[in-house]
Symmetry: C2
Subunit: 259 residues, 2 copies
């Protein structure tokens, strides 16, 4: 048994969301045709990713993430993904990979942000100017700019006030998505929409939902007329492609800015 | 790390649904306060449960289920649940427990149907006449009658035609929930509602959603005015109670047939 491995817990609902998207993107006529999946959701052991990237904590979450990856490897997983954009910042992701190499793990950890670039490039770059909604950690690490701009994309980042609003929509203890997701608060949705509107005025053609909590607030395929690019769904498809490419559902036609 | 174990894959969406309900029923102010959960969704290895209970197959799914339980035990899980009512039929469940005993596993497998009886009894038996919607395998095994009637409940089962309609709403290859869940077909919902209406006429006070696929078709808290009893949510709460009772959310006030 070689399940698709999912490093969950960052946060718990993001792990569920990726698992669901793996099922949705699998070509299966009935239960038994679905692929094996192992989701390990161990939130209590993994320190906050943004706090480390921003230098507010010395504790690199890579050590705890590596332990989950090793448990997935022992379960027989040969490919795994982690639905947390901030954990793909180089100071964290590179350290996880270094520990995997040192331990000689055969499991391959798919890089969600690299897959976003690959996906958009393979689809013929339907949008080139991408608004990025993300945590302060992901903005500060420049993960999307570093990986997408060499592929011909422009990553539009909100100004300082906008970045603070997106971060608060995720983390604020009274109205943020992590504290309050059933349902998501109206304020979190409003703040995100305001930031998107400002980036649209700067020429954004699509919105990258660059934090795995955000799909809880921004459902559907678009926000204020701009198509959403969902890295979690792209990661789900990449995991299926690596584990069992014949099981990957065909893509629907791409939505373009012109409709 | 001692995660709550979930034997998934029967079907894949039922495993996700239980995982989500564990998160929802956990008292947690933020991500890191959530409990560790390991979901192993290995649908391809587990034979159909109804076919075995009905004598249409000689292959007891217990062997494959036991392998998943053993993998959860190796991950450190001390308690686990399986969101599949039919797998709780004695010919399957008892064989899983026998294999666990023979292997000397310490992990405790919570029995979902026993927990339904315990839950309703502890709540003061708000309803005594329960309509059961389930697969043919669960009806034939009499799992709910055997476990709930000694606790003072009456389990109302549809007539032969009604049982066939419920089974088809789950299994039919054109309109059943397993074949067609995004969205669930109108026909599956209509068939289930018709069966519930007939059982209400026989005095049912609540509906036990006795197949983990059914919440996909019957959302919300009631169907045609009868409150729903959701064994998956009751199992989620039992798993938290066994793993970390201080983390269990208080129950909402019970809905009664009189409102």
């Amino acid at each position: 048994m070689n399940p698709i491995g999912i490093v969950g817990g960052m946060g718990p609902h993001a792990g569920l969301d990726l698992t669901r998207k793996v099922f949705e993107e699998t070509r299966a006529a009935g239960d038994r045709e679905h692929l094996p999946v192992a989701l390990l959701s161990y939130p209590g052991t993994i320190p906050d990713r943004s706090a480390y990237v921003l230098g507010r904590s010395d504790e690199n979450p890579a050590a705890a993430i590596f332990e989950v990856v090793r448990a997935l490897d022992r379960l027989g997983a040969t490919v795994a993904g982690m639905p947390c954009n901030t954990a793909h910042a180089p100071p964290i992701f590179d350290e996880v990979r270094a520990r995997m190499d040192a331990a000689g793990l055969k499991l391959r950890l798919v890089h969600m942000v690299e897959e976003v670039g690959r996906h958009l490039a393979e689809r013929g770059r339907p949008y080139r100017r991408l608004a990025l909604l993300a945590t302060r950690g992901t903005y500060a690490a420049g993960t999307y700019r570093t990986l997408l701009e060499p592929r011909g994309f422009t990553v539009l980042v909100p100004d300082e006030e906008g970045r603070a609003r997106v971060h608060a929509a995720i983390y604020d203890e009274t109205y943020g998505i992590k504290a309050c997701s059933e349902p998501v608060s109206e304020r979190a949705v409003r703040e995100l929409r305001d930031v998107v509107a400002a980036l649209r005025d700067q020429g954004a053609e699509a919105v990258v939902v660059g934090c795995t909590e955000l799909p809880l607030a921004l459902g559907g395929d678009e926000v204020d007329g701009l198509p959403l690019v969902d890295p979690t769904r792209i990661l789900a498809r990449a995991l299926i492609r690596e584990a069992a490419p014949e099981k990957l559902r065909p893509l629907a036609a791409v939505a373009t800015p012109d409709g």
